[in-house]
Structures are given as structure tokens and as C-alpha cells.
Symmetry: C2
DNA sequence: CTAGATGCAAACAGTTTGCGTCACT
DNA sequence: AGTGACGCAAACTGTTTGCATCTAG
């Protein structure tokens, strides 16, 4: 559970108002121990605050992401992206503009699981090297 | 460039009809050397086949993905998923149902880039271990 | 008191589907 | 000749935005 004063301090440190809705949304994500969608968060939060709107959940999830209180599971574009299924490679992904660049597999040391996950048949390991691309770094400076 | 007879053979080996539209769509993705969206593919293909419809691009991209001729850049859900920004961990992602499970970082040997990518400031490395989860494997058998 | 947060509805983007027609095998 | 692909439009899902109202700081 997320304590009242802890949450207030957390918001304070991120420059956010500590509203009731925000506390319940944040506590819900924390309590789910999973990777919920805004829709699922909305369903759960509505049990505590029936009057809440889906837009408020979206707005606050975005706010939490921007402040770093939450993290996105995937840093890729929301829309479908495809590539030829030829050579093994990984991706450089810019967390600002979400652009993608290929990275030769040779550039990463040997990738191996120490223990096989139970009941999960591994077929491939995909690595995303996250960071800020040159174009976004340039914009950063000029601001 | 993708040769006519090569493409016919490729489709044949995947049990697909080798239509003109498919050849142009496939050749376009291959020629882009990137990670195009269906929308971008559509724009490019329309220059060669002005009468093509966006739905045909979507349908065929899906067909190519299903046959393995193309690959998705991200195997995550299309919609937003979030998690608390607490502990470092990676993800097991089922390529069938797209369910996500956490994987302790300790389970992967040391992850390090041999050479830093030029002009890209790395902030984090995210690993997706792709495969088939237990639930999907069970369905597989019963089919 | 005032900037910012909420709730609602409408707008939007990306994607899928149903159906009549047409083309590959 | 028949199955499956195409093109179009309409439907759908997930997400954002504009605006009036309300609340935390």
C-alpha cells in the first residue's frame, strides 16, 4: 500500500499536486504488480472513485510517466513497425522521439539466460538500447 | 531489389499467392532499410500502384508477419502499458498472447556494449526474452 | 485566490472488417 | 473454375483535447 504522506512527498518532489485521484491511480498501479493498461487501471480505480473519468486516468498516467514516477513497458512507437526477417540485430531506441536504429548483434556481448524460466519456451532475445539520439540531444542544447 | 522469381518462390514456400501488390509491398519494405509503419509503406507503394488501398497494405503486412516473411519491431501490445519505476528488471514476452512477466536482471549475464554508438547517449538497456508462455503452449498441444 | 486538476463529450489516429468484384493457381 | 486477394467504406479501439467546473496549495 502507498501511504498518504509518502505519496504527498513523492508528488512534492516531482512538482505535482497530490490529489485524491492521483493517489488512488498511483496506488492501483503499484498494487497490481503487473503491466496494466490505462483501461485496466480505470476499471480498478472506478471501484474506489466511481466518478473518475477515463480521460483523468490517461492524463495522470502521462503525467506520472513524464515525471518518472511510472515507466512505460515498451519504449517503441504505439503503432505497428515492421522489418525484413533477415539478419539478427538489436535496436537503438530514442526515448525522446522514438526513432529506431539497427545495432549489430556483435556489438553486445554473449546474451544468455542463467536459468531457463519455468514453463516458457524461449525463441529469441531482443535487446533495446535506450537513450537520446543525436538529433534530440541537439534540440536539448538549443533549448 | 527483390527479383520476380525469388519473390514467387518465397511466396510459394509460405503458401501465399504471389500477387503484384504483394511483390511491391514486400520490395518496398526491403528497400527502406528501416522500420516503416503501414502508413509509410502505403505512401511509397502508392507511387508504384496508385490504385492500392491502405487496407490491402495492412492485410498483407499482417499476412507477411504471420508467415514470418516480415517481423514486428516490438512484440509488445500496441496499447500503453505501465509499471512502477522501482527495480531494474527485464521482461518475458509471449509472442502469441503478448503477456508480460518480469525477469530479474540477475538472470541475464552482464550486459554491455562493446563499442558505444556514435552520437547516441545510452541511458538504459531493456531486454525482452521472447517465446511462448505456458498457457499458449498448452493451447498449442490441444489443437 | 489562482494555477492547475477533474469530468465530460467530442475529435482523432491507427487498424480491422464486411462485402462485392477481380485475379492467381 | 474456384479460392483467395483487392478496393472501398464503415466500424472499432485506444488515446487526446477543449471547455466548464472545482480544488489543492
Amino acid at each position: 500500500m502507498v501511504r498518504e504522506d509518502e505519496f504527498v512527498a513523492l508528488c512534492r518532489s516531482h512538482g505535482l499536486a497530490a490529489t485524491h485521484q492521483r493517489r488512488v491511480i498511483y496506488a492501483t498501479v503499484a498494487s497490481l504488480h503487473g503491466h496494466p493498461s490505462p483501461e485496466l487501471i480505470y476499471e480498478k480505480v472506478k471501484k474506489k472513485i466511481p466518478s473518475i473519468s477515463l480521460a483523468t486516468v490517461y492524463n495522470n498516467v502521462r503525467t506520472f510517466l513524464a515525471s518518472g514516477m511510472l515507466r512505460e513497458v515498451s519504449m517503441h512507437h504505439g503503432s505497428l513497425r515492421v522489418e525484413p526477417n533477415n539478419h539478427e540485430h538489436h535496436h537503438l531506441v530514442c526515448v525522446r522521439c522514438r526513432s529506431i536504429t539497427d545495432l549489430h548483434a556483435k556489438n553486445l556481448g554473449l546474451l544468455r539466460l542463467k536459468t531457463q524460466p519455468r514453463g516458457f519456451r524461449v525463441t529469441r532475445i531482443a535487446v533495446d538500447v535506450l537513450g537520446i539520439c543525436a538529433a534530440c540531444a541537439a534540440k536539448e542544447v538549443s533549448k
